[in-house]
Symmetry: C2
Subunit: 290 residues, 2 copies
Amino acid sequence: MSDELKNKLFFDKTTIIGVGFIGASFALALREKGLCKTISGCGRKDENLKRAKERGIINDYSLDLKKACEDSDLIFLSTPVGSFKIVVEEIKGVLKKGAVVTDAGSVKGRLVYDLEAAMPEGVCYIGAHPIAGSDKSGIDDARPDLFKNARCIITPTVNSDENAMKKIVSIWESFGARVDTADPFKHDEIYAVVSHFPHIAAYALVNTVADIDSKYIEYAGKGFKDTTRIALSSPEMWRDITMFNKENLIKLMDAFKINLDKIKKYLMENNESGIEEEFLKAQKLRESLK
Amino acid sequence: MSDELKNKLFFDKTTIIGVGFIGASFALALREKGLCKTISGCGRKDENLKRAKERGIINDYSLDLKKACEDSDLIFLSTPVGSFKIVVEEIKGVLKKGAVVTDAGSVKGRLVYDLEAAMPEGVCYIGAHPIAGSDKSGIDDARPDLFKNARCIITPTVNSDENAMKKIVSIWESFGARVDTADPFKHDEIYAVVSHFPHIAAYALVNTVADIDSKYIEYAGKGFKDTTRIALSSPEMWRDITMFNKENLIKLMDAFKINLDKIKKYLMENNESGIEEEFLKAQKLRESLK
């Protein structure tokens, strides 16, 4: 990064709303890249914020959203996505002119337009989604290099301020992320398939074990563990994500059931080559991801 | 292991039928523990067997099943399970009195009784299933410590020879495996839930991506990769496993669909707490596996 760009990118005060795995990693990365003077944290749990301060992740904190956002140049939303609109309603009265609001939410679509519309004059919102989620949810696993080589999708709209957009792209690029842009609704269509529905499937798979006999889980090997690792993810966070992307998810559930039913039919008909073809088709596409 | 047990356990000749990831690892472990003098390999591909010999995994090999099994004291079946009965029919005429036939198949149930019934007089079959499968299928990744700390399920029947059973248990214990015994049908009920159905779900999940847009797979992160890793597994092997365990799998497909439909209903009804409860229930059970 040139010194000129770095000067332009420097933020006197950044506020992290929701100091968890992603929020704390963002703070650590900002600090490591020297992009910020002061980082304020805001959240629901005093104890967590206190620990984040002790560990040097944030400089100070407040449980009061307005206080945490006063004089802030950059506001980073990393709470469950269901709270974004409520948070923005709460803070919009104190936002400084020229401030940029961004986020790390896994859903975009309509939400991006709603947040954009809620911004007061002179404040810009740019949506972002770093693909660095995890079943981890606390500051203990946060690290400054979390976003290095990770994909980050920025979802501008026709209304997005070009300057604010450049700032957000530059932040993620400085972290070493591979930045892409996508239409907010297209983003949700893509991530419904490659992330949101797989979470639903993993949760449903574990609950199916419970329906048969919970004790059977003890017999699971590495295959089951990997397949259901994401069922360890925060239920609160994923409740919000699935609710916000439900139209795409409902369509996917139906598409998935068609695939399951095809295999079921082949099993019932003893159609061995049909089954092998289905598995082979999946294996080939999955191999392209290696 | 005591010297006495080791003497009893020593096999002059072992035949590995199907020298892939599991068969080669079994051979390497036998050799490392000093339990065998000569290991013969048998399979479909001359080139693979040649490489296995060059690497010291097997001492010699034959493409002819009968020849490979002549004078063998221990026969280890590690081909796809669908071939076990055909292989046994082919070799039963040459099996030596006192020989033990075993396997590493992921399905047991009826197959165990069929294989047992096919044994000539003086030859015992004991079913085994080491939980050390992988999306890997070749000898390149084989290793002698693959079974260390892995679970291995032995599935004796009322007809099983006690001496042969002890031998098989001792082999796996000498490899450091955690040996359990289970009724063959109970085994299939358990592994349908914790392994076989998850494979079907992973294959179907990848095929659902293809239904929407194969290119979307590029956007996948670690969650999708882990959830679908087992879709890299051998289609031929899993065709056989799912066919042999289809009764349990069809039941599970229905149970899984009920769980999916419950989430779908909650999404459609905006029942946020219902969704969170489903996810939380799964998260808790999955955490018990950590």
